[in-house]
């Protein structure tokens, strides 16, 4: 009898959790993400869980729900209670999903609370060193004939970045999808495709060893460790600025106090030299945003990808 009573009190307490935000958190918090173990999402979620657990005194547990390019997890989080006990580690693909999928059971912007961006990172345009010396040469070749362009898969940010490059420069590129950046890098090294768009983690080491050449970086400034690789914007497509990101989100309607607590704690943890260094080693720059900035950035990206998908004639799913 005593036990039942205690349990009831405990259950009641947890129900009241959101109301008494000052007490947050009083029970373990789940960080959901939509990718397999070992991807950037999983690694970063686990890295972030540590300082959160330490600072807030409750375990932050990482729970992968992989499937459908992250949509299985987003669907789950969008329909969870906004009580602060279900969070999501979001990736740049969240914006792509918002544009690419027609029958989602959630709205990529409206159904979420955006807490903070964690990191951002650009993509690299890479070729074999014996083929093209500059991005201008590659684009010129693209305008003449067909450049075979490899990416991590249909509808990935890498794919859409390549399509946007083609659209902005007028080059013609035949897209060949692979499974993940690793597949595209292998195909490039083996000569099956002429160019790939890939995240830095998969090409930086090969560029250093001279097996690949990086022609350009997709955002508006050079990457810190490769200062001599120009931006696409400065060379062939003025104004070009594409990047991906990782961020912390929750269901829409998360109480503001909880959002603030999570935002401040996460940003505080991220800005320690230790975590910053580890993330940089993964090719990710720490770049927090306020909840409002983060929200606006995602809304902005959904709009951009909608345009690219229409102009490249990619089928929506």
């Amino acid at each position: 009898m005593k036990k039942t009573f205690a349990a009831a009190v405990l259950a009641l307490g947890s129900l009241m959790g959101p109301a008494i935000a000052a007490d947050y958190p009083t029970q373990p918090v789940r960080i959901i993400h939509g990718f397999g173990p070992g991807g950037n999402a999983d690694t970063v979620a686990r890295m972030l869980a540590e300082p959160l657990t330490e600072a807030l005194g409750q375990p932050f547990v990482v729970e992968p729900k992989p499937g459908a390019g992250g949509n299985v997890a987003s669907d789950f989080v969008a329909h969870a209670d906004p009580d602060g006990y279900t969070l999501q580690l979001m990736v740049g693909g969240h914006s792509v999903s918002g544009a690419l999928y027609q029958n989602l059971s959630f709205d990529a912007v409206e159904d979420f609370t955006f807490i903070t961006r964690i990191t951002s990172f650009p993509f690299f345009i890479a070729v074999r060193p014996d083929t093209y010396a500059t991005i201008e040469e590659l684009i010129a070749a693209g305008k003449e004939g067909r450049v075979k362009f490899g990416s991590a898969g249909v509808g990935t940010t890498q794919h859409l970045t390549g399509e946007l490059l083609a659209k902005e420069t007028g080059a013609k590129m035949l897209h060949i999808p692979y499974k993940g950046d690793a597949g595209a890098v292998t195909a490039l090294l083996g000569g099956e495709v002429d160019m790939i768009v890939s995240a830095g983690t998969s090409v930086l080491s090969q560029a250093r060893s001279g097996d690949l050449k990086l022609l350009a970086v997709s955002w508006d400034r050079p990457w810190p460790t490769t200062p001599d690789v120009p931006t696409v914007g400065d060379t062939v497509a003025p104004g070009f600025n594409v990047f991906s990101w990782l961020g912390l989100g929750a269901p829409a309607g998360l109480p503001e106090e909880i959002t603030t607590v999570l935002h401040d704690t996460a940003v505080g943890g991220l800005e320690t030299p230790e975590l910053t260094g580890k993330l940089e080693a993964l090719g990710l720059l720490v770049s927090p945003q306020t909840p409002q900035e983060f929200h606006d950035m995602v809304a902005d990206q959904v709009a951009t990808w909608n345009e690219v998908i229409d102009s490249a004639g990619i089928q929506r799913r």
């Binding site: 397999g36 070992g38 949509n71 580890k278």
Partner: protein, 501 residues
Amino acid sequence: MTLFDGLSLGFQTALAWHNLLYALIGVLLGQAVGVLPGVGAMTAISLLLPITFYLDPTQSMIMLAGIYYGSQYGGSIASILLSLPGTPSSVVTCFEGHPMAKAGRAGQALMLAALASLFGSIVGVAILVLGAIPLAHLALKFGAAEYFSLIVMGMIGASVVANGAMHRAIAMLAFGILLGMIGTDINTGQYRYVVIPELADGISLVALAIGLFGVAEIMCTPGQSRGGPTTALGRGWRQFLPERAMLGRLLPPATRGAGLGSAFGTLPGTGAAIASFVAYALEKRLSSEPGSFGKGREEGLVAPESANNAAAITGFIPTLTLGIPGDAVMALMLGALIINGIVPGPAVMTDHPTLFWGVIASFVVGNVLLLLINIPLIRLWVRLLSIPYWLLFPSILAFVSVGVYSFRNSVIDVWTALAFGILGAILKRADYPLPPILLGFILGPMLEEYLRRAMLLNDGDITVFFTRPLSAVFMAGSLLLLVLPLFGVLRRRIRGARKPA
């Protein structure tokens, strides 16, 4: 640095007591998660990844690698004893290993599997040491056309896996290919037969394998009489050691398996599962009594075990030399290296010789550890079989459910495993072979992927499979595989025709 210097540096590193400790932790943990159906190396490694931030990179790699091949062996234990394949590559281990266990030879099967694993790993390490760089460059020559032709050859070669009527095997292969069609179309991103979002990435391979082989086995068994495993446990572990004559007989299959495993392991993305299927098929082809396969034939256990371990080790070739992960587990380990500030790629060998050679030497050391640990454990494992069914089976089903669920944190996968368990039991009773379903399920989507990519790259020119030299060789091989049995039939006909005369 010469090869010898490298190896001696490697063994010095791997045998240092703290590294040895991490190898031990790795293989123990790996074996534990491997035995639990569904909980693979992937889960264990990703859980441990944050810990590796605090370890030195050599130690973390040794430990992670230990988990990786430890789980391979753990998978074999569950396959042999209970027909529960924890990993796709250990499905093949069920084919002969489980019948051996049913015939009361579980201890022997476990010992053979451990010895074959060790053998395969040593061959894999030798190939890794001698030929990593040339092999990695050869692997890069494999384009879409070559992969397609290789898989065609593998599929034809492995279609003899089934016992009994050919048309039933082909029907099951086709069924497997159809199951593999469910999911996202790789070239357009369109969904195919995705009735619920959880199916967007297809049916879970682990759920399918555990359902078809493990759950179905459980469902079929209570109908049979118990009369099975009565392994005598009196004479200590030596009773499980194979006799010298048997060792001699099993050396050629183990060698062939290791060779095949090494070849498939080097190609990024094909992997251990196909290697073990092909190794099994080859042994059956070469055997003078193919009819005895499926009833506990040692060759059919040893060759695939040796193959999947060799493949697991040569799988490190693209990872270490090109910085391209061969599979998801490798990608995880690359991540661990990067976080520790080491850039994977050709430079690892020269920039971090202690790490490179230490990890390689630890493959051998770890596998020896695995064997030593298991010699006393085999008795314990075998005893599992003496647990009465009413206690054993419900607990296995509970473990299976937890394991399958934890793989993707998805309840759908649990239902999938159960559904395929029921289907598997029905098919088994109706005498339809189950292995071709899995073969079709694994190879079908790969076949489609490479075919369509080759067509996209070559403007739909189908002759490309015959004009690219490597691809042409595989196509010729496939043709030979198809024609050879016909010759056999013809010869028998001719002989038959002569007899009455």
